[in-house]
């Protein structure tokens, strides 16, 4: 069972829900893995202590030009859709702009002179932590300036969901990294806030998930702070409200110190136990 925790925008409580849900499943003695797919800003590790067990580097291919064989015909440049190759035949110059390369392999196919080979370039890392014998945390972290985190996310999720409950903390937004994460999930939990900004972002996520035909439900965080527009929208569109986490300064204070609210605040443990039960039912 793979559950993705997502939101239209960061900062709505995605990390709060992911990490506390993880803790509840773990404390119930069930095998569980939390994968932080928000590789631009991974945060889960600040809330969960584990022993570092492995670090896996993820790479992409980058073309390398053998200038002895290159005839400066320019075909690779023509085939590269991302302007990652610059050929100047007049001055016999060819250059690969590594940051622009999407690792598509078109230049390799294009070159008829066997002048192109490939090397590996690091795009990020997956750090694995063991929290206890049955549970672990994977953190994906992208290098600054890499064009896309999608290959990294795919690699991080690859062995999730085999005999354990997997929680995928998805990247915010509705672009490719978000899709790469939720596509792998059996069910998606959207976290939102009861404000016009929250509702606007929620609608975008809902639209995207409906297009992908993914089942989903909604958790409202900081309930009681804004208005009822989100609840009304959910009722109108028959979207399941999974849980409401009230606005509470104690939550903010606990969160700011990196302490899980299911550890520090008794009243919220039950809320997450219920959420877990609801999600477990989705699996069967």
């Amino acid at each position: 069972m793979k559950i993705a925790i997502a939101s239209g925008k960061g900062g709505t409580g995605k990390t709060l829900v992911s990490t506390n849900l993880f803790q509840i499943v773990r404390k119930a003695g069930k095998p569980v893995i939390l994968i932080d797919c928000d590789s631009e800003e991974p945060n889960d590790q600040q809330f969960i202590n584990g022993n570092l067990i492995d670090e896996q580097l993820v790479t992409q291919n980058i073309p390398v030009i053998d200038t002895d064989k290159c005839t400066y015909c320019g075909k690779c440049q023509e085939y590269c859709h991302y302007n990652a190759i610059l050929v100047l035949p007049e001055i016999k110059h060819i250059q690969v702009v590594e940051d622009l390369c999407h690792d598509c392999g078109a230049c390799l196919y294009a070159c008829q002179y066997g002048a192109i080979t490939e090397k590996e370039k690091m795009i990020g890392a997956i750090t694995k932590f063991e929290v206890d014998e049955r549970s672990s945390l994977y953190e994906s972290r992208i290098e600054v300036g890499v064009y896309s985190s999608v290959p990294l996310i795919r690699e991080a999720i690859k062995d999730a969901g085999n005999g354990h409950f997997a929680i995928l903390d998805a990247p915010p937004g509705t672009s490719c990294p978000f899709i790469a994460t939720v596509e792998q999930a059996d069910y998606v939990v959207l976290v939102t806030e009861p404000t016009p900004f929250g509702l606007n972002d929620l609608k975008l996520s809902v639209e995207t998930l409906q297009e992908l035909k993914k089942p989903f439900g909604v958790v409202i965080n900081r309930a009681g702070l804004g208005n009822n527009a989100v609840q009304e929208y959910l009722a109108e569109n028959k979207i399941q409200l999974l849980a409401e986490i009230p606005f509470d300064r104690k939550i903010a204070a606990s969160y700011s110190e990196g302490v899980l609210i299911t550890d520090s605040l008794d009243e919220y443990r039950e809320l997450f136990v219920q959420l877990y039960k609801t999600l477990e039912k989705k699996a069967s």
């Binding site: 859709h81 690792d103 064009y147 896309s148 509705t174 672009s175 995207t208 992908l212 700011s256």
Partner: protein
Amino acid sequence: MKEIVVLSGKGGTGKSSLSAALATLASKIIVADCDVDAANLHIVLHPENYREEVYVSGQKAVIDYDKCTDCGTCMDYCRFDAIRLENGKYLISETACDGCQLCERVCPAKAINMVEHDKSRWYAGDITNGKMIHARLAPGEDNSGKLVNIVREQAREAANEIGAELILIDGPPGIGCPAISSMTGADEVVLVTEPTQSGMHDLKRIVELAGQFRIHSSVVINKYDLNTRISDELEKWCQYMKIPVIGKIPFDRSIVDAMVNCQSIIDWAPDSDISNEIKLIWNKLICHETTRSI
């Protein structure tokens, strides 16, 4: 012309609410909402759009099954795992396709065509004290950096049109390509952070990024009273990094009330403490010398 960009590293720090408030304070301004993935400012600033344009974010491959001979060459070459075989038919996943065009080139039956992705839009609209450029990137589309560039270009054009001296850019979250696009060539970066461990962590990453571009930055600590210990730590760190902290905004429900009523806090509660604090921030920002000399 001066371009000020508001960034936050992570989302949820109240960046857009602050941007809206700052925008309301200017006498004449161009607002560029560069959070094209999840634009929100229009909810508060109510632009009356006079222009809507299609943004082509890229291309996607489509198979013409009348010509396809089921040879599978395309699948062999695709490095994005976008092509799969299902019930004897090759299918291209629209969301996984990167638009590299290689399958179109390798198909011996010439059965693959590239079609443009044209669901994204950008808009120009009038607001009470100027103009606003904003955009909407369709789900699953990439290249938000390019769309950010268009929004900024249009903002500069609009500024020339009405003779505005100031462009306020509401930047996207994160430290990726769109964040970089929204700050390159800007004059001033305002970093909005909050006193949490993760806020602190993200602030460091974004400061590093701003440093790489050699743009003068300053910091606003939002909701600073939610954890004064971390706020103090943040301030000390900024001092050490020689980044001026130009404002500390307490947590206040009225910010949310203003948003719920689709107004900026300045319009909603003009004489509140919080609005006064934001006015001070604004003064420090537009008067360059003050921020420089702190």
